[in-house]
Amino acid sequence: MSIKGTAYIAGAYEHPTRLAKDKSVAQLHAESAVGALADAGLTKDDVDGYFCAGDAPGLGPLAMADYMNLKLRHLDSTDVGGCSYISHVAHAAEAIATGKCKVALITLAGRPRSEGHSGATPRVRGADAPDTQWEFPTGIATVNAYAMCAARHMYEFGTTSEQLAWVKVAASHHAQHNPHAMLRDVVTVQQVVESPLIATPLHRMDCCVVSDGGGALVVVAPEIARSLKRPLVKVIGAGESMKGQMGGAVDLTYSAAVRSGPAAFAEAGVKPTDIKYASIYDSFTITVVMQIEDLGFCAKGQGGRFVADGNLISGVGKLPFNTDGGGLCNNHPANRGGITKVIEAVRQLRGEAHPAVQVKNCDIALAHGTGGLLGSRHGAATLIMERE
């Protein structure tokens, strides 16, 4: 049993707001859903499956499904942090393959910018979580958890701040063409390494933006996809995993992408060299470097060298990534970047990315994300899509 070819992404919508002081989180979810259904050419009444994660207000999917007045046969609120929505696409394909639904709606939204949330502030991720009493007192936040990965990567492999900076530089080259991006100025390696240190060795420009916003996807059965007017974006492979501290055998040099990636490639029947465009979760520059290694785009430890000299810039390098500007420059709604990763991959496969960053003959694309903290325990989700 495989999900290859069992479902298509028919609708994708990124909410244009980056600061939504005048809207509620539920409203942003629903507005994103409106946009994705309109993009697909479907209506609310066509939806029979709904997927959301921890950013949705209320108990699991119940409050949002009720707000939108959906009539559902299938519900799923898998939450593995920021990559949840990449998993949701795979779960929707599974549900469609087994006849549980035909039109699956996935939504994400949040307003961390309006609410003043920052990745530099420690926050309790479940007071009753068994790790909280041991780790929350350390002041572990988001940025310093990822920074410990960066420090170890530098120690083990000789990765430099300048190499990490190239990830941001590439994102900024793409963001200049995105009118909705929060940060549209092209930056240099020097500007990144001279920006203030937040948590050593990560600088301010190694960190993604904090933005309000949302996004939604519509995943449908093949016969529905073919009845619509949109280009066909087929789901061909997916993988998911997680990695923690392994009972104290902590190893910060790799991510759970070492499992989710190969599973997705095997199901899709493609290799990293077949990928024309990759959306890679860029909460921080180090996140991209580690995931690129773990997905097999380069050898372990070579990620810093791989991303240098513009290798991630569309039209310049070997692996065009995050052509919307990514989390580093465009948008990181709800502090969860998974859905925007799928949305930009869909744009690329449809040929609807900005002409300046559109990858030529983009027939196979990958979206990969990390959820939670790479430095303590995290989820990973990989999705491979093909233009039909």
Partner: protein
């Protein structure tokens, strides 16, 4: 002496109260499994290595080596989070204190030191240069 960050009190539960009770006497305990013989962190009633329920509290030396460290600059009081690999094997998340934040580095030898926590919570184990 730099001003140190106030430390939130750990939320003690029945599985872990022996650790925090010993902490009040300055004793640093870890859990070891009597079935597979391996130590682990953080402490659990069920061994994460072999799934035995026969784990026991044992004294640890309190000495270790920094596996990774990051100095948080964007905070009212600068502080360092770290993973420290204990002599007994497991690696734990903690803080490095009483150190030069410009020099603290992976590979440094460190030793446990206790800090009071807010709301009369139990002392929390941090590490300082050995």
């Amino acid at each position: 002496m730099v001003k140190e960050r106030a430390i939130p009190a750990p939320l003690v539960n029945p599985e872990t109260e022996a650790f925090w009770a010993a902490a009040k006497d300055g004793k640093f305990l870890i859990k070891r499994c009597t079935a597979c013989g391996k130590a682990h962190w953080y402490p659990r009633g069920v061994c994460p290595h072999c799934f035995s329920e026969k784990t026991e509290w044992v004294p640890a030396s309190g000495r270790g080596t920094i596996y990774s460290v990051s100095v948080m600059k964007r905070a009212p009081e600068v502080y360092a989070v770290a993973y420290v690999t204990l002599e007994e094997g497991p690696t734990m998340m903690t803080n490095i204190v009483e150190c030069d934040f410009d020099k603290v580095a992976i590979g440094d030898k460190v030793v446990v030191t206790w800090r009071p926590t807010k709301d009369d919570g139990p002392p929390y184990p941090q590490f300082k240069p050995a």
